[in-house]
């Protein structure tokens, strides 16, 4: 990326804490003022943001490119849907399973692809994303996956007799899980592991010389990234109450990739912006024409690569720094 990438300082001052608290208060507040359709949209923003967050760790911090993150979104969604629809599990209990299954598949795909450098992960995940809808449609599994028709689940209700509608509760539940994931990612990146991840991104050879086990770190990061994206998928399945193979096509993976680039590849708050972008831009674009979402996504992707390679998140950070008259430290 740019020469001005920085190792995040990891300090968490009073201003940040206040800003974060205010932001959370606003997000929680939405639960009580928005109508059910907008609450559903906000829930999807959270789900997509969590999915993009997985990519942020992998691509932004570790520098490995996945073009098939939609596959893990699908795996998370289907894990939740299968457990809820076929085995009557409560929605909240499916999340750990969705996380574990996604992480396992991530590990299995990452193992062959990440021992090697370069574009092998991008190629393998591309192949995974293109084949996932076919795998989900297979007849042999249709008792399990619902085949082409997909699966329908019951709506989640607020527990303990809380005076909340189902939509409000699902939104708040997703928001809680989302916060947990963002906290996890933030914690992971600011410590020793985070520094190792960034070292791999900037200079793999130097990182190895300093004692970072390249393959192990990359494979583990990919598994964590798959897990987080899988949880995003599970949240979306709970909100939509329906899964079908064709909603997890290759375009979903590309959409997540675009969300990552727009939000800022190495910006954790940027993932939230990416999630909002994914949820709202296609709605606007579809009003123009059927071809418009693809064209707009493509043009935005190329435009960002040329003009704002660190995305909105990176751009905002740079502006804040400039405002504080603190120059960006030179890295290279």
């Amino acid at each position: 990326m740019d020469a001005d990438r920085t190792v995040s300082s990891g300090r968490f001052g009073l201003t940040q804490a206040l800003g974060m608290g205010a932001f959370l208060a606003v997000m929680v507040g939405f639960a009580f003022i928005a109508d059910s359709y907008h609450l559903f949209q906000l829930t999807m923003v959270v789900a997509y943001a969590v999915a993009v967050l997985g990519l942020t760790l992998l691509t932004g911090y570790t520098g490995q490119i996945s073009l098939g993150q939609g596959a893990f979104f699908a795996i998370g969604s289907y894990s939740t849907a299968i457990l809820m629809a076929n085995y009557d599990w409560p929605y909240w209990a499916t999340l750990p399973v969705a996380a574990a299954v996604s992480a396992l598949v991530g590990f299995l795909i990452g193992f062959p692809a990440l021992r090697l450098g370069g574009l092998y992960l991008a190629l393998t995940t591309f192949a995974l994303a293109v084949s996932v809808p076919q795998i989900l449609k297979v007849n042999a599994l249709s008792d399990f996956t619902g085949g082409v028709q997909g699966l329908t689940m019951d709506k989640a209700e607020a527990p303990f007799g809380l005076p909340l509608t189902g939509d409000q509760w699902i939104y708040l539940f997703s928001l809680g899980v989302g916060c947990l994931m963002f906290l996890l990612a933030w914690n992971l990146t600011r410590g020793r592991t985070g520094r190792a991840m960034m070292a791999v991104r900037e200079q793999a050879v130097a990182a190895e010389a300093m004692g970072v086990g390249l393959a192990a770190l990359k494979i583990r990061t990919f598994a964590v990234s798959a897990m987080i994206t899988g949880i995003g998928g599970a949240l979306s399945a709970i909100a939509v109450q329906f899964v079908a193979p064709d909603s997890f096509n290759f375009f979903l993976s590309i959409t997540l990739f675009v969300g990552l680039v727009v939000g800022g590849v190495d910006s954790i708050p940027g993932a939230l912006f990416g999630g909002a972008f994914i949820e709202f831009i296609p709605n606007i674009a579809n009003d123009i024409s059927k071809a418009a979402p693809g064209a707009i996504y493509g043009a935005i992707l190329i435009g960002f690569m040329f003009a704002l390679p660190r995305g909105v998140g990176g751009g905002v950070m740079a502006m804040l720094r400039r405002a504080r008259r603190r120059p960006l430290p030179e890295v290279r």
Binding site: I65, A113, F250, G294, Y297, G298, F304
Partner: protein
């Protein structure tokens, strides 16, 4: 037995298409170490152009040649405008641009030519069944034409000064430039050539799979598998890999996993190659110097 022969024959026919696209991918990879994810969409766009020309009354082979020339120009323009500024950019930027290009071309195809599936005329006809009816006339013609194209490409690289210069530019840009090779111009030429090969593959496959904006997405995946199987830095390997993937895909589709899982065969091949022989059958193992 008859069924098996039939599967192998049509596997070779589709393998010819994968081999062409794989060769186009490897040519660009060798020169720039970029994998062109938009290769398939560029070929689809070319095929739409060819269909438009045919509908406008141009005879098939005239439209074929015209489309090849236009695609060559498209490749050169894409290299000049989008890829040259990205030459030294990190890998994420180039992948981003390729994916962006894929989306834009796909959307343009749908916007200009429509999303409906269109039939595409085949130039190859026969009065009576050939080779005992195991293969259709189109399969024979298509395979033959692809082999001719691939041979021409090989002759060009092997026996012409320009081909030598292009190989030099891809193999060692710095030394090539010191010897007076115009490396940037060679890169542009390479892109044009890759786009032209892709266009030929698109026109040849369209009568079989029918034409719509997403025609090439599966084919691109098999081409990736073929390129990896043959070795991503070996043009000959990519061609052989493409044919092998075509046959494997058909055999697995017919006898093992069923046609509904055919795309998964590509994924399995990619994973198997990466596990067993990452450099591919004909590639060199990568050694990086610190």
């Amino acid at each position: 037995m008859n069924g098996l022969l039939h599967q192998i024959a049509s596997g070779i026919a589709s393998g010819a298409i994968y081999a062409s696209v794989a060769l186009a991918l490897v040519m660009i990879y060798q020169a720039t170490h970029h994998v062109n994810f938009a290769q398939g969409e560029m070929a689809t766009l070319s095929t739409f152009v060819a269909l438009t020309l045919i509908h406008a009354g141009v005879p098939f082979w005239g439209a074929f040649v015209l489309t090849i020339l236009l695609s060559f120009a498209l490749g050169v323009v894409v290299e000049r405008i989008l890829m040259r500024p990205m030459m030294n950019a990190p890998v994420l930027s180039s992948v981003g641009v390729f994916i962006g290009l894929l989306l834009v071309i796909n959307a343009l195809d749908g916007w200009i030519f429509g999303f409906t599936i269109k039939s595409f005329p085949s130039p190859f006809h026969a009065a009576h069944p050939l080779l005992g009816g195991y293969v259709s006339p189109h399969e024979i013609g298509e395979t033959g034409l692809t082999v001719v194209v691939l041979t021409l490409v090989w002759l060009f690289f092997r026996y012409t000064t320009l081909g030598l210069a292009m190989r030099a530019a891809a193999y060692n840009p710095v030394s090539a430039r010191l010897c007076g090779v115009r490396v940037n111009r060679m890169l542009g030429l390479g892109w044009g050539l890759a786009a032209a090969i892709g266009a030929a593959a698109g026109i040849m496959v369209a009568p079989v799979v029918f034409l719509d904006p997403n025609m090439m997405s599966g084919i691109l995946l098999y081409a990736f598998a073929g390129a990896l199987l043959g070795g991503i830095d070996s043009p000959l390997g990519a061609v052989i890999g493409g044919f092998v993937v075509g046959v494997l895909e058909n055999l697995f589709g017919a006898y093992v996993v069923g046609t509904e899982l055919k795309l998964t065969v590509a994924l399995m091949i990619i994973v198997a190659v990466l596990l067993a022989r990452p450099a591919g059958l004909f590639g060199r193992a990568v050694q990086s110097r610190v």
